[in-house]
């Protein structure tokens, strides 16, 4: 009981911090609400898919920006994808970084795009490590026989 209580408290604190710092938005709550006993790994599955897709996109983006000349249409298409999936899971700061990136693409600014990519990478790896920690906590709670409450 003590162990579960401690883990659940940690989980609540971690989740609240993620929302407070703007790393996650309301869309993540929508995802959590879709989880049910028939599909208890839904959030983990979607989040894993997001990580996988995003890392591929980041590779493509890095490669595309190294080309000479840069194909801004192609870069923008990748950023559009990234913006879409980050928006769908509620990764707010990643999404916002993508919005800035798209502006740099429109302006055809190579330096702007390079910086924007760095920012997107930074935000992505930040949310990735925090979400991995959250999911791990949830696994520990379940393994200890506890339940996971949802954010109100």
């Amino acid at each position: 009981m003590d162990v579960i209580g401690r883990l659940q408290r940690q989980r609540t604190e971690l989740t609240q911090a993620l929302f407070k710092e703007g790393l996650l938005d309301e869309q993540f709550t929508q995802l959590q609400l879709l989880q049910d006993p028939n599909n208890p790994d839904f959030v983990a599955e979607v989040v894993s898919l997001f990580f996988e897709d995003s890392e591929k996109l980041l590779d493509e983006l890095t490669r595309s920006l190294e080309q000479d000349p840069v194909d801004y249409k192609k870069v923008d298409a990748y950023v559009h994808q990234f913006k879409g999936s980050s928006s769908s899971i509620g990764a707010q700061r990643v999404k916002n970084a993508c919005v800035i990136f798209r502006t740099c693409c429109e302006e055809r600014s190579q330096e702007g795009c390079r910086q924007a990519l760095q920012q997107v990478k930074h935000e992505f790896f930040l949310i990735k490590s925090r979400l991995e920690a959250l999911l791990q906590l949830e696994q520990q709670i379940l393994a200890a026989g506890g339940t996971i409450p949802f954010m109100e």
Binding site: F50, S85, S87
Partner: protein, 163 residues
């Protein structure tokens, strides 16, 4: 009773339907929605929203695959138009190659499929785009991320068509 999946497997020369799309098996009483989106996260998300709303769901990652499922793409021994009995199509607008708008147009230009309601999704709120899609016959234009309430409401587009 002929199992539809098996019949299609034979027609396609052994290519399993799973290679074309994720087709859910089940009875014919539920509304069958064809969801089209090239983004895998979005595809998983819309699939879940649809399933939770008790629709039967088939997901594909492109407009051309959607046309294969609908029996519109020629070349291979064709599926009968709407062999999978799709009741509603929900498609992303921005997709590489054939867009959701192109898909909408193609469906509406086909006499055997034009009655199928089509809903467009987009992450971008572009008034001209919305107007053009609605003018072409889309039932609705949903902004992403799509909400569960939007999905539950889709049923209305299908019911309106029942004789």
């Amino acid at each position: 009773m002929v199992n539809k999946s098996t019949r299609i497997q034979k027609l396609k020369g052994g290519l399993p339907t799973e290679a074309l799309a994720k087709v859910e098996s089940g009875d014919g009483s539920r509304i069958h929605v064809l969801a089209v989106d090239d983004n895998s996260v979005d595809r998983k998300f819309i699939e879940k929203l649809l399933k939770i709303s008790c629709y039967k769901v088939t997901t594909v990652d492109s407009a051309s695959r959607a046309l294969e499922i609908l029996g519109l793409i020629e070349g291979t021994p064709p599926l009968a138009p709407n062999a999978f009995k799709i009741n509603l199509i929900i498609t992303d607008y921005c997709m590489p190659g054939m867009t959701g708008y192109d898909l909408l147009k193609t469906v509406k230009e086909c006499s055997s499929l034009k009655e199928i309601p089509v809903v467009i999704m987009s992450s971008e709120n572009v008034p001209n785009r919305i107007k053009t899609c609605l003018a072409e016959g889309a039932e609705e234009f949903l902004l992403k991320p799509v909400q569960i309430a939007d999905v539950k409401r889709l049923e209305g587009h299908v019911r309106d068509r029942k004789p």
